[in-house]
Amino acid sequence: MATENTLRDLRGEVDRLLEGQQWAPAAVRLGELWYADSSLGTAGFVISGFEKLRDTIAMVPFRLAILRSFTVEPIVPLLRAEAFCFGIDLSVHVGDFNAYAQEILDSESSFYRFAPNAMILAIQTGDIAPDLGRDYAQLSEEAAKKAGQRVSDGLQLYMREFRTRSPAALIVHNLEQPTRLAFGVLDSQRPPSQAEVVRQVNRDLVSSAGQMRGVYVLDYDQLVARHGRLRWCDEHMWLTARLPLAADQMIHLAREWMRFLVPLSGKTAKALVVDLDNTLWGGVIGEDGMTGIKLSAEYPGAAYQALQRAMLDLTRKGILLAICSKNNPDDAREVLEKHPGMLLRTKHFAAMRISWNDKSQGLREIASELNIGIDSLAFVDDNPFEREQVRSFLPEVIVIDLPQDPLQYAAVIRDHPAFERLTLSAEDQQRTTFYAEQHERAQAEQKFQSKEDFYRFLEQEAEITPVTPATLARISQLTQKTNQFNLTTRRYAEPQISEMSANPACQVLSIRVRDRFGDHGLVGVSITRDEGETCEIDTFLLSCRVIGRTVETALLAHLSDQAIARGRKQLVGWFFPTKKNAPARDFYKQHGFDMARRNGDGALWVLGLAKQRIASPEWVKLVTGNGGNH
């Protein structure tokens, strides 16, 4: 806990930096202040600080509606301060007290007009299902079962009605178990047990949410249990202000909400870059040697194994790992390959920079080698000097502070919202393997005299299919995550993709690429729309893993062939430049399109299909199928 003097000094420094218009350093200090004291008072100061500088640094605006059965107002400032520290400028609309049902069912209600990006349905057992809480003992067996079913049906109805009225993401709290069971220790022997009825409602909720797009369950029961049921509630606050959380627990709910809002606003990390000495293991390899460093299943080495296990788990969510360390490369490699305590090995790291150079330089190189943006990197290092250096030179990087105690390291990684994912595709789980195969490709490429020979050797196969229920989530994910080879950078949530695929004038296609080294998975999306004689390319994107090997031409050729087959006379498409999509800038020009007009930074490109058609590269084998949806 920071002392009052530290907090006062930090505030003074923030004021000075804001005064001197040093926006980026002011933002860093505001974050430091917030993590030193995440209280309501400090939230007010942090919010007003960020409001002064929000236009000067890259912030993602995000609109959140909270419909609720209890008082959430005091949690909102905590949430907004936390969001600012993650680069998210949150506008929050709070629904009327306990009016969530009417508001969801009324298309005219103010929260639909607010047009949120996401809605949180903040409810708890005591409010929406008193039968399952304090009144449970008085219910007959039959009535108890019915009460549970009624709650499940109600929640399903609200979710479905919301989904028909809004494309926004929906986050629903599940029900927390009562702190004290009505029948005490007898509960588990009574059919139906009170705890079991609540569990059943929660299972029903997960299964209803699973049938809808963009609906996510927040495990409120688990959250309350993690922090302790008895400590979670302040009975006085509950009875007088309808606030069910004690003052010191509110921040935990705000942070749990952030675990959804960070991935929804696209502020996720695609790769975690770690330091080695005193981060991945205890001690310094250059001084302590293979037998001296701390890394084992016992204390104190267990802390570092726990961190490695947390990192290994991240790879299963598609997050890449990389090393950036000031070290002698041979020493580091020996640990990676031979140390018996290592859970992570060379194959788990997609990139490594082990040298005596600046870490900001290493991070830049890693981002470029992995073909991801600097802002997609998270960086963890035990050394505050290195963290500070990266923060000042590369403010886009998500720098993660480590606490003094190494036993807490793993929890910091596991709790960080930048590593949360709301959906997981097959591609995500395979990503570390994809990158290992990519290394083999790069090595093979060097053996060939001409690019064409290399392309032939690759034996690429492109499978182009219309969207299916199974690929919808991945398609939406690609529109949200692809920054570089993306011509229009239009982001679509799953319900929007679903809507377009149902429109007969629209074609939503995905492309999967395989070659002799392996399967790249589903790596590209195109969305086209017919209007009169024109077919307009709304979206055209490919993962950076496959660009530059001519599959982009194969996909464009397919679009032009299809447009001709449907009787269209011209193929048109916008290019909107962003900070990151330079690789796609000349794409239309290179394929014979003419620029028809400009609109701001954007340009509309046109290809007359009567006289020109795009040839598909002979070395890409095209497989087209119907995805089962059209």
């Binding site: 309501l40 400090t42 005091p74 006085h236 007088t240 509110m250």
Partner: protein, 81 residues
């Protein structure tokens, strides 16, 4: 910083006013932003800051910054730190 200064800082954060505008005699009548919601926020912020709890009766009696300081001081002195 003593308890009184910390409370004035917290109140200035919650009510969105400079700290020098918060005095012992500040009341909800004088401070426009001191409504029932901000009163709740002030109470919660003080609970967080000083790790104390207030009974509902005590919350109702916090009718000026002077009263708030007196109440918090009595609680902070009662708990050995």
């Amino acid at each position: 910083m003593n308890v009184s200064d910390q409370i004035r800082t917290t109140a200035s954060d919650i009510f969105g006013l400079p700290a020098d505008k918060i005095t012992l005699t500040s009341t909800p009548e004088v401070i426009d932003t001191w409504d029932s919601l901000q009163h709740l926020n002030l109470v919660l912020a003080l609970q967080q800051k000083f790790d104390v709890r207030f009974a509902p009766e005590e919350i109702e009696q916090m009718t000026s910054i002077g009263d708030v300081i007196k109440l918090v001081e009595s609680k902070v002195q009662a708990t050995p730190s």
